[in-house]
């Protein structure tokens, strides 16, 4: 047996010597990044400018809002869209957020998440529509989405830092890349799953392409689209800790400090803050995806509430 094994080892060695060529993928990528930093500087500056404009203004705006107002607005939204129990949860959890002294960080994160989500949806949803309309486009975009979702976030943090330096901008960009795929996928899926007869009905009554899209396909795909938007927001939120490693700030900072300095309590508080924000955003965005027309307006809901009865829709 020994000689056979030795033979195999020798064969394998010669194979890897002669047959397996080092393609220098890593070096190629480095060269590409270097080339891009040199030749597309203007482009990156423009992108960075646009992103930092939106992200900075949003974060500043949320930080400028008095906490009381945020309490009231979120609680009212929660009451209107979900129910009084969730409104109560919102109030309690926001109070906890304040008591942990993480208010400004949470507003930073909220601004960043919303900026990233807007960018992700602004590019992702149109791509999803095109993808649904063209099998060719679907075949092209799908692997790109897989790539975006599975490539570890740290890997594209490096070029993001090289292109945009540190701070909020690369953080937002990394978040956009990471959170965009579900919006694209679910838009594509939603449109493709609109019942054939509804599409036929649209065409049979004389819809042109745009009418078909806006009067039939998008409304019928809405639950799926909203699920995609919800997922995008959730993924964006899950990137905050990683983004804070390159100085994006927000609720990731205390978590990072907890890791680096082994401060258990600080890390936990930061994590809890992320969870609270996630639950609030999740429930609120989900409620917009439900096709519930009997929910009624805010006023009728208040009337119900104060008449001592629970409206049906708050049961769920």
């Amino acid at each position: 047996m020994m000689p056979v094994q030795a033979d195999i080892a020798a064969f394998w060695h010669s194979l890897s010597e002669n047959f397996v060529i080092d393609l220098h993928i890593g070096e190629g990528f480095t060269a590409l990044v270097n080339y891009m930093t040199e030749h597309f500087e203007l482009f990156f500056t423009a992108v960075a400018g646009a992103i930092s404009f939106v992200a900075d203004n949003l974060t500043e705006f949320f930080n400028f809002l008095p906490p009381q107002l945020v309490f009231v607005v979120l609680a009212v939204l929660a009451f209107w869209r979900v129910g009084w129990r969730f409104a109560l949860f919102v109030l309690v959890s926001l109070y906890i957020m304040m008591s942990m002294n993480l208010w400004s960080q949470s507003m930073d994160t909220l601004g960043l998440v919303i900026a990233a989500t807007l960018a992700a949806l602004g590019t992702g949803l149109p791509v999803g529509i095109v993808m649904a309309k063209s099998d060719w486009m679907q075949a092209v975009v799908r692997p790109i989405l897989d790539f975006m979702q599975t490539l570890p976030a740290f890997v594209y943090l490096i070029p993001a830092v090289i292109f945009f330096g540190t701070g909020r901008v690369p953080g937002t960009i990394a978040t956009v890349i990471f959170s965009m795929p579900p919006a694209v996928r679910l838009m594509n899926l939603g449109i493709r799953h609109v019942p054939t007869e509804n599409v036929e009905a649209g065409r049979a009554f004389g819809c042109n392409g745009m009418q078909l899209l806006f009067k039939v396909e998008l409304p019928l795909a809405l639950p799926s689209i909203m699920a995609g938007i919800n997922q995008t927001i959730m993924l964006a939120l899950s990137m905050v800790v990683i983004a804070s490693m390159i100085g994006a700030g927000g609720l990731g900072d205390p978590v990072l400090a907890g890791i680096q300095q082994l401060r258990l309590g600080t890390g936990f508080e930061g994590g809890l803050g992320v969870v609270i924000l996630a639950i609030i955003l999740d429930r609120l965005t989900q409620s917009f995806g439900q096709r519930d027309r009997r929910r009624g307006g805010l006023l009728s809901r208040l009337k119900f509430f104060f008449s001592g009865r629970t409206p049906d829709s708050s049961v769920s």
Binding site: P195, A204, K215
Partner: protein, 403 residues
């Protein structure tokens, strides 16, 4: 009434190279051969028929016979591979996109098997869908949609959402949506097939009622023979992509084009198909002109060996029925050579049947009557008589020929 819609040698081949399949069809190859050789499916093969203005034209066939493909080629939801589809003489297969959209908005509308309502819109908005797409103003839209809903009896549900309605009500909305654009042609693709049998019958009645108010040109797709015969003025039967027979229900029952068509009608209750006029025989009962002498009539009856005679006037209008017994009774007590008016010998209680009565409805009357019953048409003209023996014979004969 003129021709509203004509389908001329229409083919549909599903596959990469329809022309290649068409050439094979021209060479006489069958659907299965072509599929085996090229992998292409012949959906519809050489379909030709004409639909008259105001007619309910039923296309019937089993699933996979190409009827749904055929109906979709009438508004180009599916493009035909060759042939022409003319609406009011214009070939729609050659229309530009713009013309086609215009045609769909104003001239031809469709009702779907699964209703295909928009779940996010109210019944009223759904009904106004076609008008909305065509760019009508909100007020006009609402007015016409409400009218259409009124026509199908759903005005009260205008603000409901589709998921709050039963299946039958949903399809009424589907029908209202199609009627709201006031189309010249209504395509109904298995429109009632998803409904419960009772509701289905109700909807068929609804369609017939709407047709009696305003006769539209309807192309009605179904796999249900009873439905086809109830709603159809004429029926086209499809088999494996080909239209194998076109005709009125009676024509098809009487002379099925092939064994396939015959097998379709095997279980049909022909008492719904045949009317009194179909069963009535002119040769069975002696016909006598009004004013004939009673004694002469009696002599003729004895001579011919029959017991009953029908009396008609100079315009062939039915007057009454006499029998040898009733004639003798009228003459009894009269001296030889004296005659009476034949009217005095008419048998009481013999009611003439109208010619369009379905056989199913007259069986009881015919069975109870001791004399053959006369059948008259809408102008009171005598068309023949039905005896219970003749009726049984007819039913039996059709059974035998269909079996």
């Amino acid at each position: 009434m003129g021709t509203k819609l004509s389908v001329e040698n229409v083919y549909k081949v599903f596959g990469a190279r329809p022309q290649q399949a068409l050439e094979r069809i021209n060479r006489g190859e069958g659907k299965d051969e072509i599929f085996a050789a090229t992998g292409m499916t012949v959906g519809v093969s050489d379909a030709s028929f004409e639909v008259a203005e105001g007619e309910v034209f039923v296309v019937m066939g089993l699933s996979g016979s190409g009827k749904s493909t055929l109906v979709r080629m009438l508004n180009r939801l599916i493009e035909s591979s060759s042939g022409a589809v003319r609406i009011d003489g214009r070939d729609i297969t050659r229309m530009s996109r713009r013309e086609l959209i215009d045609l769909r908005r104003h001239e031809i509308s469709m009702v779907f098997q699964s209703f295909a309502l928009m779940p996010h819109q109210t019944v009223l908005e759904n009904t106004a869908f076609g008008l909305n797409v065509a760019g009508l103003g909100a007020a006009e839209r609402e007015k016409r949609a409400l009218n259409a809903l009124d026509a199908v009896g759903l005005k009260a549900n205008a603000d409901s959402f589709p998921d709050e309605l039963s299946g039958g009500m949903k399809q009424r909305v589907g029908l209202a949506r199609a009627l709201a654009v006031n189309p010249g042609i209504l395509l109904m693709d298995e429109a009632f097939s998803a409904l419960d049998p009772l509701i289905r019958t109700e909807m068929q009645d609804e369609l017939l009622r709407l047709q009696s108010e305003q006769a539209r040109t309807v192309v009605f797709i179904t796999h249900d023979l009873d439905e086809a015969m109830r709603v159809g003025d004429r029926i086209a039967i499809m088999q494996a992509g080909e239209v194998v027979q076109v005709g009125t229900p009676e024509e098809i029952v009487r002379e099925p084009a092939n064994a396939y068509v015959e097998s379709f009608f095997r279980d049909v209750d022909i008492s719904h198909v045949f009317t009194a006029a179909d069963v009535a025989r002119a040769d069975e009962v002696t016909v006598i002109e009004q004013g004939a002498r009673v004694r002469d009539v009696l002599a003729r009856l004895e001579q011919s060996g029959s017991a009953v005679a029908v009396v008609q006037d100079g315009q062939q209008r039915y007057q009454g029925t006499v029998s040898d017994k009733s004639l003798q009774a009228a003459l009894s007590g009269l001296p030889d050579g004296q005659d009476v008016d034949i009217e005095r010998a008419f048998i009481d209680g013999v009611e003439a049947l109208t010619s369009d009565t379905p056989v199913g409805q007259l069986m009881g009357t015919v069975a109870e009557s001791r004399v053959p019953l006369p059948v008259i048409d809408s102008d009171q003209r005598y068309r023949g008589s039905i005896s219970s023996a003749a009726l049984l014979h007819t039913l039996n004969r059709t059974d035998a020929s269909a079996a």
